[in-house]
Amino acid sequence: MQPFALTIWKRETSRWIEKLLESAEVIAPVRGPCNDVVFSTVSYPAQVLWDFENPLNPPKQFVLPQTDPLVKIKRTAEHHEVEPVYEDARRFLFNVRSCDARGIAFLTRMHAAEPADDSYLRRARNLTIISLSCTTPCPLGFCVCSDSGPFLQGDYDIQLTDLGESYLAEVGTEKGEAAVSRAPDLFRKATEAEISQRERLEAEAKKHFGQETCHFASAMRRISTGRVPDALWEKMGDWCLECGGCNFICPTCYCFSVKDLACNGGWTRCRLWDSCQYAAFTREASGHNPRENRKQRMKRRFFHKVSAQYYQRDGMVGCVGCGRCVKVCLGATHMPAVVAAVRKGKWHE
């Protein structure tokens, strides 16, 4: 499909969202019960936030739920019957930021790799991503370092950009086209002036990044070739509190464990998010643990995210520069800090 650009008046977006709500679930950043911003299902358009701090939890839960049912296990007096569980709900993911759209693109690429994970891919196929470009970068974001923002070049179905009175809607896929065709009278073809305004906004946004920066290329060279001194991993490992927070809020982390949860007299076999920073992640039944120490686990996390070996496999670094780990890491061993330490060969203490 040839991409095209439309515009919609800001005052008309409610009518569009109403139309979308008629056909599918709409997920958007909304005010949570404690006034924080969360991604959640909306029931009316006024709930959708347009000017907001990106939620601490990325929207990955809508393609990869924290507890993800895979297999239904039914028990009768004599037998067990097993059947796969699929979720086929159609969803619009509204006002997702560029970094998070890239995060979902990363997860989709990984789950599509052989053997393809149909449970994930069905959710991804049923999800229409309507992103909202960042005309003002967020304070902790460094998406520009990993080619994941502030504006997207792809990986969206529709990319919205705030033009003042209206939104530019770049339509990139057939799913995006279907979403605008729900309310065709609300959209008009974007003018040359509007498209060049978008280009100006993108260029301007790139000038306003905060202090967080991440030089992946030089860290990648050292990490891929094992040229990071063990003592440095050890030092950084000392600062890690093994909380797993960095994994759970990361838009690209997907490591999991499999458990049976009791359900209606039988069980549901579920995939549950897990953290490579937990000692039990690699502990075997025999007690042997190849990554007993924090330094080994930290080395593993950053090899998976930043090494050339994984970059070649996944087509991008395992970081979208959203800055969430900067916010949650209690030990300050977040992505920009570790990349800087690896690059300079020393920890900041």
Binding site: L70, V71, I73, R75, H79, H80, E81, V82, E83, P84, M110, H111, P115, A116, D117, D118, S119, G226, Y254, C255, F256, S257, V258, K259, D260, A262, W267, R269, R271, D274, C276, F281, T282, R283, E284, A285, S286, H288, P290, R291, Q296, K299, R300, F303, H304, S307, Q309, Y310, R313
Partner: protein, 273 residues
Amino acid sequence: MSDLFLPDVARIVGVADETPDTKTFALRFRDTKTGNGFHFLPGQFVELSVFGYGEAPFCIASSPTRPATLETTVRRTGQLTDALHCLGNGDEVGIRGPFGNGFDVEAARDKDLLFVGGGIGLSPLRSLIWNVLDERDGFGKVTILYGARTPHDLVYKDELKKWAGRSDVEFRVTVDVAEQGWSGTVGVVPVLFDKITLHPQSTLAYVCGPPVMIRFVVRDLLDRGFKEEAVISTFERMMQCGIGKCNHCAIGHRYVCRDGPVFNCAQIRELVE
């Protein structure tokens, strides 16, 4: 594939006590067609479900030359294996697989074969050993060296006797700590190397056991002139999915569940944590 995580239901058709905490389970798929379509190599593993407790990886202990049942030897060491040990004939479990690369049986043809097992680590070797013995003419000299902590910890005791009694197999066994009534060799597995004649040039060595045992045996074999490519081992790692997705078994960008669990020493050297 729409059923990556969907197990096939199998029934337990036999349980053998190996040691006080280890049992061998013989399984048969409930659906005959599934059973007939289940082809594996020695060294591959399955994800075995105990319904309600989840699933865990276990190597296949039986030989593909004996397809009537699928066997796996399990030590009781946690929630799932505890639950499995409580099951008996007729009870149902789930099977996904087979997974992993397995031993390259074709590459072993006409070669002399040296099997070195430690404790329950004999289990994946047993699959290959019976495969070789069932097609005995296709292979050279067969030597089996086996060690366990105590005589109680020896698994497949009846089969050890069979191997010891065969003229076409050289079989030696040792225990780390002897008990009353044990008149055999005492010492860790490498002590057996001095009791046999090794032919490093024509032999493939298969080593499986606890990590510390593998380390010492492999070093010894390399010192005695084995090429790295001729020393083959299997890795044990925490695994959840069996298909290279969950990341528990990752070593660098390799996955033990998919790229392994069988590696030769040259490949092991390339694996960087």
